[in-house]
């Protein structure tokens, strides 16, 4: 029983990360019908901007709550800006081209970030920029405290992660359904040209959507880096793909679907690795993707929209 509960805790902590990244995929898909494959790498940039900020502030010598918050929100801002820049220069010029063009561009942006970060350094310092392919050690933003109720080990990191992730998800839900911007976002998602005719600034809505999604990816990256302290330029690859699976599983374009998809994927992986064969851990994500596409192509929460002729 203890083992089962421990797996539950572990699975939730991985699942919230997938969910946070999946939200970025799903929001961008919702408004643009674009699968932003560079999203996993924005997550990676989030971890590195956190590292630069932490080193700059001297978190490893004297950690404090104020610095931790500064690092957290600093990287969210950096990534939000990166998301807006990517959209402005890579996707906007292609908005009226066939969707495949934008998709391939997204893969290109992903490679640009992954391999750009592996180039030889141009600046010096304790961590040069670009950081190169060597993994870097991420300093602990605050001291770790372990609790073991009923023999299930939970740390304050797990709790903070879960709380922050759930908090961010509710915030997002609030933004999408209760604010003017959210209404605009849903309008653009429904039909961008009509939304434009109604006086909505479509470009601005799309920019903000990218900012929001990329910020969430940065938050996910910092939650991961705080407790699993090595980061490298290819770290976004696997979580990015898995979060994409989670988004499709929940019904891409659907915000609660992405959350549920992320959590289900995290738990499924955990239980398969824990009780069956650990080498199938990564396989389970793709098995789920195939099953969902076969049985319910629109995803768990997705609605099939009838094509209007």
């Amino acid at each position: 029983m203890t083992e089962f509960l421990q797996h539950l805790v572990n699975g939730l902590s991985v699942g919230t990360i997938y969910a946070l990244i999946a939200l970025g995929y799903t929001m961008v898909y919702g408004v643009l019908k674009l699968i932003n494959f560079a999203h996993g790498d924005v997550y990676m940039v989030g971890a590195f901007s956190g590292l630069y900020l932490a080193r700059g502030l001297g978190v490893d010598q004297s950690p404090s709550l104020f610095k931790a918050l500064l690092v957290f929100f600093g990287s969210i801002v950096v990534c939000a800006a990166l998301g807006v820049i990517i959209e402005r220069f890579a996707y906007r010029p292609l908005r009226h081209q066939p969707r495949l063009t934008a998709l391939i561009t997204a893969i290109g942006v992903s490679f640009l970030l992954e391999y750009g970060f592996q180039l030889p350094p141009v600046t010096q310092g304790s961590v040069p920029f670009p950081p190169g392919p060597t993994p870097r050690f991420f300093p602990e933003p605050f001291p770790r405290v372990d609790y073991a109720p009923f023999g299930v080990h939970v740390s304050n990191y797990d709790m903070v992660s879960l709380a922050v992730a759930v908090g961010l998800m509710f915030l997002l839900q609030f933004i999408v359904y209760r604010t003017k911007f959210g209404t605009a976002m849903r309008a653009v998602s429904f039909d961008s040209s009509v939304a434009g005719l109604m006086g909505i600034n479509v470009n601005r809505v799309i920019s903000w959507t990218f900012a929001l999604g990329s910020g969430l990816a940065a938050a996910a990256a910092l939650l991961v880096a705080g407790s699993r302290p090595t980061i490298n330029p290819l770290m976004g690859l696997m979580p990015g793909i898995k979060a994409f699976v989670a988004a499709v599983f929940g019904g891409i374009g659907n915000v609660p679907g992405a959350m549920v998809g992320g959590l289900v994927l995290g738990l499924a992986e955990e239980y398969v690795a824990g009780y069956a064969l650990s080498s199938y851990r990564d396989g389970i994500a793709f098995a789920m993707l195939i099953l969902v596409l076969l049985l319910r192509p629109a995803g768990l929460f997705g609605r099939v929209r009838a094509e209007k002729v």
């Binding site: 392919p133 696997m238 992986e269």
Partner: protein, 397 residues
């Protein structure tokens, strides 16, 4: 407009070329200056080193490179080989087997290296071995311990050698140590499935451990680069083993150790020479205390050969040499020794000379190459206390 675009393309192309050049400079910097000066082929002897100067195992390549360059500098000061100075050219493979193959091909065909040194990791040496064979350029791996490295099916690869022991022995060392010194019966294994070295070592360990009357209670796997190992560790915890054998590389091992402690697991971890890096302790931060790993040598050994080497290395680089540096030094010296004995500097003559290496007194032990081109040497077991490795035992073959 068209010309503007052409200009942009040209600038981009130049930038790319510039970056590549910089990469080469970067990969060969930070070493004694004497071995750097590039000279035309013919007047000098070229040692081509393929190493992971960056990537997940960056300290492996870096240490090996320092060891090689120390050996080469010493020989150059003595007048080189047959009156010729030695030049080392190091190419970075970023820890990727495919890059190691590219680098080896480039060193052999473009730079006409007289010998290839490298790689540390078995999966990357396996990628280089066929290239050495087909181009008739000898290759000496300093620390690849997987038996397949010098093998092509059943027969021995003529041009591939190593100066370290192999995993059937290394696995035995830890199995014996666990059964006889630690008196452990129940062990769990956590191996890196994508890594020839890790899979091989885990198998050899398991075989010997079972022979000695032990029990493998759980056999789990992970993939290099994973960030989360808690699923496997929780499963292992449920089986309550007395120790966990993790024959991986240092970055993953350190994360595994941390997460095991976070789950409240107090068992010692055990591993192989892939643990040997200063980064292990930086990431683990004490999580590995009480654990053991097998290695090629220990800098604590009071023998004068080792202490002299440690002093020289410290003077050159300001750090205590790890096993990778020591074996890099030994590999380069075996190559130098063979070249001095060889009748000329063609690939086949050097190969014959390396094959006849007998009783060479290296720092890591006396090196005699057997019919499979492996060195037969003793291994040491190191224990980790207060986040540093301490000598625990020596195991002879």
């Amino acid at each position: 407009m068209k010309s503007l675009r052409a200009l942009a393309m040209a600038t981009l192309a130049l930038a790319v070329v510039g970056c590549q050049q910089k990469k080469q400079e970067a990969s060969s910097s930070g070493a004694p200056a004497a071995s750097q000066a590039a000279a035309p082929v013919g007047d000098t002897i070229l040692f081509g080193h393929v190493g992971s100067m960056s990537g997940n195992e960056a300290t492996f390549g870096d240490s090996t490179d320092k060891g090689i360059k120390l050996a080469v500098d010493e020989q150059n000061k003595k007048g080189g080989i047959k009156g010729k100075q030695i030049v080392v050219k190091t190419l970075d493979d970023q820890g990727k087997p495919e890059e190691a193959a590219v680098a080896a091909t480039r060193l052999v065909t473009q730079d006409h290296a007289n010998i290839l040194l490298g790689e540390v990791a078995s999966s990357r040496s396996l990628a280089m071995a066929p290239i050495a064979d087909s181009n008739q350029v000898p290759m000496i791996s300093p620390t690849s311990t997987n038996p397949k490295v010098t093998k092509d099916g059943d027969k021995t690869r003529p041009y591939v050698f190593r100066v370290c022991f192999i995993d059937p022995f290394q696995g035995t060392v830890m199995a014996k140590f666990a059964r006889e010194n630690l008196k452990i019966t129940d062990v769990a294994i956590l191996r890196d499935v994508g890594n020839d070295y890790s899979v091989g070592l885990a198998d050899f360990f398991a075989k010997k451990f079972l022979d000695l009357g032990g029990k493998i209670v759980s056999d789990q796997s992970y993939k290099a680069g994973d960030q989360d190992f808690k699923a496997q560790l929780t499963a292992i915890k449920g089986k309550n083993p007395q120790a966990i054998y993790v024959p991986g590389y240092y970055t993953d091992v350190a994360l595994i150790a941390r997460q095991a402690r976070e789950l409240g697991m107090k068992q010692p971890l055990m591993g192989g020479d892939g643990w040997d890096s200063s980064k292990l302790y930086e990431i683990a931060q004490g999580a590995l205390d009480g654990s053991y790993f097998s290695n090629h040598y220990t800098p604590e050994d009071p023998s004068p050969v080792i202490q002299q080497f440690v002093t020289k290395y410290k003077a050159a680089y300001g750090a205590v040499p790890d096993a990778l540096a020591t074996l890099g030094y030994d590999a380069a010296n075996v190559a130098i020794d063979a070249m001095q004995r060889a009748k000329d500097l063609s690939g086949p003559s050097i190969r014959d000379a390396i094959e006849q290496t007998k009783g060479y007194k290296g720092v890591s032990g006396v090196i005699t190459l057997d019919s499979d081109h492996n060195a037969v040497k003793s291994a040491v077991v190191l224990g980790i206390q207060k986040n540093a490795a301490k000598y625990a035992a020596t195991v002879n073959p």
